[in-house]
Symmetry: C2
Subunit: 129 residues, 2 copies
Amino acid sequence: MDISTRETSLTVGEAAERVGLTTYTLRWYEQEGLVAPVGRDSAGRRRYTESDVNWLFLLTRLRRTGMPVRDMRRYAELARQGDRTLGARRALFEAHRRRVLARMAELEEDLKVLDHKIDAYRRAEEELA
Amino acid sequence: MDISTRETSLTVGEAAERVGLTTYTLRWYEQEGLVAPVGRDSAGRRRYTESDVNWLFLLTRLRRTGMPVRDMRRYAELARQGDRTLGARRALFEAHRRRVLARMAELEEDLKVLDHKIDAYRRAEEELA
DNA sequence: GGTTGACTTCGAGTGCCCTCGAACTGGAAG
DNA sequence: CTTCCAGTTCGAGGGCACTCGAAGTCAACC
């Protein structure tokens, strides 16, 4: 393999490590249409480009914020249709952004419950001490 | 049924509505040991007390913050052992609190990615306009 | 006293997201 | 040239947290 290929493309294992997913998951994402078919070398092995890796990274953030795989697939389909879906993709992100904010607000509420509980335990422990 | 019972105890359906879970889930939680066996009326139907409902509410907050059912069970077991596990329960909550904080920090990072992406889409749309 | 509707138990089924085993292939190192 | 490792496909399996269907019971209302 030539130098330029070596410098810009990664095997499935390398890509997996970069983005923090397993090789199983990477292949599965591709199969599920979350990732466009990845290029192959002469032996039929996947070669991930920079932009493949960037895309995967974005997917991990979407996933981590609780976006279902189904929605990620919809997003991937939009992205594959090019510029004419820019608005739709932005809308998708804006809607998701609102969900993430709501989730964060929930967590803050829940944190309060946790803190109250911790406090109650602390006081109860002092009672018994 | 007498008035005091009517005022302080709820059927599984009522309890479910109060805490935002289904009747299925409430029974399943009990079966899984997340809830101590609930009192029954003369016909064998569950009657949830105030404190049952409070406990269930707490469980929903733990669940919502991502605590696995397995850990909730462990917590429930500790609670059933009385005062001598106060320290352990507090430690459990403190550890969980740290996880929630970490999760919130993650979400904030992810929100940044989302915002950058939204911005990029906005600019790309303007390019095309 | 019959109908309705919410309850009971039990085990099976569902949806989501991976995760893995099996059988095979091909390039690289010794 | 053999050994080894990382890759390939395919379909099956697994963990988690519910969710439901079936068959039955019981209290309440008309």
